[in-house]
Symmetry: C2
Subunit: 428 residues, 2 copies
């Protein structure tokens, strides 16, 4: 029998499975479950008729490269469109700064590989996106977490942690941020803090990795385009590496996202991508390009903002009705997520099993708390609910199921009460 | 000014650009150039009408997951088809051994990340595929090269190098092989050597990474299906990690390939893929699945074998006619490549510039020679010519241009002759 453990690299041994992907796998195991776990866009918003038309015209068209290997940087006309999008976001760029990636997850991975040696420090918010935690851990970065206020990361705390790390002789490479409708909290970083973070990065000679998948999904009346202005737009010092994606505004199945980075870094990122997957899908890139060229992408945005705002309202109303006295949450001004605090005695991770028995699933908060510097775990009583994917009636039903599970759990945990019996499994 | 060099990781600093991708970039710079550089499949073989029909039916169909994030392992029905393909290749497998990758390049990258710590040794053939060299180097592997005989890698030399490495206290992780119509040499590894290598891997406790993109493209009359039997098929000891792809038999633009690996490794590879790009394209995987389901994939194979055999003949005949007395090559029995030896005095790398001036490009042989253990460079007078992409008349014209460039180069290098003037640039 071959001893495979003995063949693994240190990274290969230490890599940890994505908690969100694990939750996603639960989906397949039980029919009829309502999932608030993965942050999937709503499939009913995908522009199917347009995509059908475009797919047909691409395959029957005269471009012999539609199905061929493409340049590692990406399909040139798409890169030009991305430059236009960066312009609209207040961050003019040039083609030599841009790289198409196979989803933003690849952007996180490439940046990590090009910047991180084992033991180097990445500073992250507490909580932060699990996919980023994974990408940084897989190159054996050490993650230093900094708490958030209601308008984003605490800049004074950030600097204090940074100074402590530097005093300890640690090499801090960058700060990772999701400024707009953060995953998992839904928080919007204030403009004042954006400015403060840019100044801090220059003063402390740190880079900023700005991950911006949700910016177009601000909710009218709750946030404005001015409030989602990227840090990258005011980056006079070349400190910001910017990631964004078409996954949330068109469809994630195409795996088309991009990196904008200072040229010396984008050159290295291109070489890293050559060996990671050579090039992103040629057909997918042309699909996205044609959707953008026909104006479909920008035309869809008001609809998408309304769609997700309505779903946020449905979930928020249902939560208020079902769990109003028991749980708390801040109503997000955009994006996909509600970040809900359960009563202190409830462990969100342990609640998952009971929730699944009741036919609903979410991601427990502790998955989003990284801190390798001793602050310890967090988010024990928090849960991330994605309101993006399920239709409204399923959102209401899911919240109702969740409320039953939570009340059962509280009852089971109360010392006075007799141990609650597990609920019977739901019929399929 | 930010000092970006100071921010790079060791890997980020040391990563080297793909020589093939660099050659590819030359393509875009000069109109009318004939490229024998990248191993692109022939676009005229892509089944456009079928793909058009399938694309339309997918987007207009009832599957709400066509454009959604998918499982990291891959689209389940496609995985089942891949299991069927493995069966046909004499290597029955199970779904928990399989992982869809974003092209085989990602397979190389994931295997490298999961198995290699900096300084670990990968054994490779001299010459070997540059994309593999890059993937291994980017995780800072040390590459030990072993010479080939006419029927593949020299097993005695392999063992001698291995034993020397072990005596030096080095950790040898795996042997990387392209057994069928190797890139760049076109060599077919003999069945006898396949058996010998499996026995060697067990005896020496080494894994084998078998990269098998070209196996379906054996040329009738020159090789048989029995001769392309994967090592994986006779791997009784669980030593083989097997990579293959749809890029050469359907189209590379979809970026759909796969890994078959022992379960303890495929589990780690899945986690590595979660953080590398989360999942491969959902639409692309369904396209490939539907092409296979309709029987198009297997129906195309006789046509493809004939197509590439004919192109091989065109190139081989043109070479014989134009360069018969000057260059030598073995006629490959399948695949995409002719591996040509120039006269000893010619440096293939230096010849590139002159060839480009004459309107033709190839990949110089030294790019395929990795050896970090002191054997030194190789392939100085070798060139890889891909006959796969260009139409027959362009192949003939390209070889004619190459012949002019080579004769000019020889003349310029001959001590007796006066220095040749550079050829005038070709009109566009």
């Amino acid at each position: 029998m071959t001893d495979y453990q003995g063949f693994l690299s240190t990274a290969g041994r230490d890599m940890r499975e994505s908690p969100i992907r694990r939750m996603g796998a639960l989906l397949g195991k039980q029919r009829g479950i309502i999932s608030f776990a993965p942050g999937y866009p709503a499939p009913e918003t995908f522009p199917s008729a347009d995509l059908q038309d475009i797919a047909q015209s691409l395959v029957s068209g005269s471009d012999p490269y539609v199905l061929q290997y493409g340049p590692t940087r990406g399909f040139r006309p798409l890169l030009e469109q991305i430059a236009g999008i960066m312009d609209e976001r207040g961050a003019p760029t040039s083609l030599d700064r841009l790289l198409v990636t196979t989803g933003s997850q690849q952007g996180l991975d490439l940046v990590a590989r090009v910047l991180i040696d084992p033991g180097d420090v990445v500073m992250v918010e507490r909580p932060t996106y699990t996919g980023a935690i994974m990408a940084f851990r897989n190159v054996r970065a050490s993650l230093a977490g900094v708490e958030q206020g209601p308008d984003g990361v605490d800049v004074a705390a950030l600097d204090a942690v940074h100074q402590r790390l530097v005093a300890d002789g640690r090499r801090v490479r960058f700060l990772y941020l999701v400024p707009n409708f953060q995953n998992p909290t839904g928080l919007l970083l204030s403009l004042e803090k954006r400015r403060a973070l840019l100044a801090w990065a220059s003063r402390r000679n740190v880079l900023i990795l700005e991950d911006d998948p949700y910016r177009e999904l601000y909710f009218e009346g709750a946030a404005t385009e001015a409030e989602v202005r990227p840090l990258r737009a005011d980056d006079e010092d070349g400190r910001v590496i910017y990631l964004s994606s078409f996954s949330k505004t068109l469809a994630p199945g195409y795996r088309v996202a991009w990196i904008d980075a200072p040229v010396p870094l984008s050159d290295r990122l291109e070489v890293a991508k050559q060996s990671a997957d050579m090039c992103s899908g040629s057909f997918d890139q042309r699909m996205v390009h044609e959707v953008a060229r026909r104006g479909i992408l920008s035309r869809r945005l008001p609809m998408l903002r309304g769609h997700y705002r309505d779903k946020r309202d449905v979930m928020s109303d249902a939560l208020r009705q079902e769990l109003g006295g028991l749980c708390t949450w801040a109503v997000p001004r955009g994006g996909f997520f509600l970040w809900v605090a359960l009563p202190e005695i409830v462990d969100a991770d342990r609640l998952v099993e009971r929730a699944v028995r009741h036919g609903v699933v979410y991601v427990a908060g502790d998955a989003f708390y990284a801190d390798d510097d001793g602050v310890g775990p967090g988010g024990r009583n928090m849960m991330r609910l994605a309101f993006s994917a399920a239709p409204p009636d399923r959102i209401r039903e899911g919240v109702a199921r969740l409320a039953v599970a939570i009340r059962e759990e509280i009852e089971a945990l109360s010392p006075a009460a007799p141990a609650a019996r597990p609920a019977p499994p739901r019929p399929a």
